[in-house]
């Protein structure tokens, strides 16, 4: 990985969400996936800003849906997909995290 290709914590979350959601991933689903699983309430704008950054790095690709959905006020969805470099980066990042956390015991609060 190049120096600029390391993933931030939120970028990791977004990429994991993309892996989990597969082909049906779009902004709202990604946001909800992160909110539900990571218990992190994020703004949709932050999700898109991150996705755009990841796309610029070549980790993610996107395409706009052709049909407009009335439930969305007539706006089309943009679907995202994780690409091979993104999977590699996520894998590297995950390995690094595992290596660093080996032997680490989460602190438990006093009862």
């Amino acid at each position: 990985l190049g120096k600029g290709d390391y993933l931030g914590a939120f970028e990791q979350l977004v990429l994991f969400a993309l892996v989990r959601l597969g082909d049906g991933a779009y902004g709202m689903k990604i946001r909800r996936e992160i909110a539900t699983r990571a218990d992190r309430e994020v703004a949709i704008g932050a999700v898109y800003a991150t996705l755009e950054r990841l796309e610029a790095k070549g980790f993610v690709s996107s395409h706009d849906a052709l049909e407009r959905d009335e439930e969305r006020g007539g706006n089309a969805r943009r679907f995202f997909r994780i690409e091979a470099p993104g999977i590699t980066a996520l894998d590297e990042s995950w390995k690094a995290l595992k290596a660093m956390s080996r032997g680490f015991k989460p602190a438990r609060g006093e009862a």
Binding site: Y26, G27, M28, R31, R32, A43, I44, G45, A46, Y48, A49, E52, R53, D64, D69, E70, E71, R72, G73, N75, A76, R77, R78
Partner: protein, 283 residues
């Protein structure tokens, strides 16, 4: 009233549909979300066109305990109103129960709901229900009902006995809507879409901050989540707050990214100009 065998069979099938769907709605939900989903599918089910007291009771009984009292009231009020708004046939008993509301329609067209309604649809919270409250939610038909503009179709239908059991009283043929003159049922899809209109100003503000490429996707995602999850789960007031909060929190990441890109571009241009000025050989 004379009824053919076919009519009776139709009515029986419809009774079965109402009962089975009602039971399905009330027995499966494990959360407020699934209760809502169940309720919406109940309303949209083509076989279910009748609002009857026992169905309301059954849903209410099962819905209790899944909400705090306040949320239960709010949800139940809206659910009942929606059922009435979308039903093709209002059974005579429910129609009779609606009678007290007529006196509570103000000259401005607002609807004041006070304690007498406890007897009717359990709306026992002393509240003024603004006409706009119903209109915003696409409940025009409900407003019509309250204004006394509804008419029992004559095809109707089913009613509850005093013991609460469903029974047949007449030939049951669903009334057909007539789009040409605007009569008939409010389109059910329209009711659901109209019931949750996001704050327009927030949409404009967000659209203004976004690049043309992102505009549709981001605003569409917010609207979809607002309508599909937030309004049904938390109610319209909280949902509007949520929408504004998402808008405000989304603007900074979006604008900062654009500014960063712009600043990067300017910096590069400056550097290129400086290089050209100091090292003429560099192109």
């Amino acid at each position: 009233m004379n009824r053919s065998k076919g009519d009776r069979q139709h009515t029986t099938e419809k009774l079965a549909a109402v009962t089975s769907v009602a039971i399905n709605v009330v027995s499966t939900p494990t959360s407020s979300d699934s209760y809502r989903t169940g309720l919406v599918s109940y309303q949209q089910s083509p076989g279910v066109q009748v609002v009857s007291r026992s169905v309301l009771n059954e849903i209410e009984v099962q819905a209790r305990g899944r909400y705090t009292e306040k949320n239960f009231r709010r949800t139940q009020n809206e659910a009942h109103a929606r059922l009435i708004a979308t039903a093709a046939v209002i059974d005579p008993e429910t129609a009779r129960l609606l009678e007290p509301y007529r006196a509570q329609i103000t000259p401005e067209g607002d609807i004041s709901v006070v304690n007498p309604t406890r007897q009717a649809l359990e709306w026992d919270t002393p509240t003024i229900w603004k006409k706009s409250y119903f209109e915003e939610r696409g409940m025009d038909r409900f407003v019509q009902v309250l204004r006394g503009n509804y008419k029992m179709t004559g095809h109707a239908a089913m009613m509850t006995t005093t013991s609460g059991a469903l029974s047949e009283t007449a030939v049951s043929t669903p009334p057909t809507s007539n789009p040409a003159d605007g009569s008939g049922d409010v389109p059910k899809q329209a009711v659901i879409v109209e019931s949750s209109r996001p704050p327009t100003r927030a949409c404009y503000l967000l659209a203004l901050a976004l690049s043309p490429r992102d505009r549709q996707a981001v605003v569409g995602d917010l609207i979809e989540e607002y309508r599909g999850y937030i309004v049904p789960e938390f109610g319209k007031r909280h949902a509007q707050w949520w929408f504004w909060s998402q808008t405000v929190r989304s603007i900074w990441p979006v604008i900062s990214q654009r500014l960063f890109r712009l600043a990067g571009g300017l910096l590069l241009a400056k550097a290129a100009a400086w290089l050209r000025a100091n090292w003429p050989g560099v192109s």
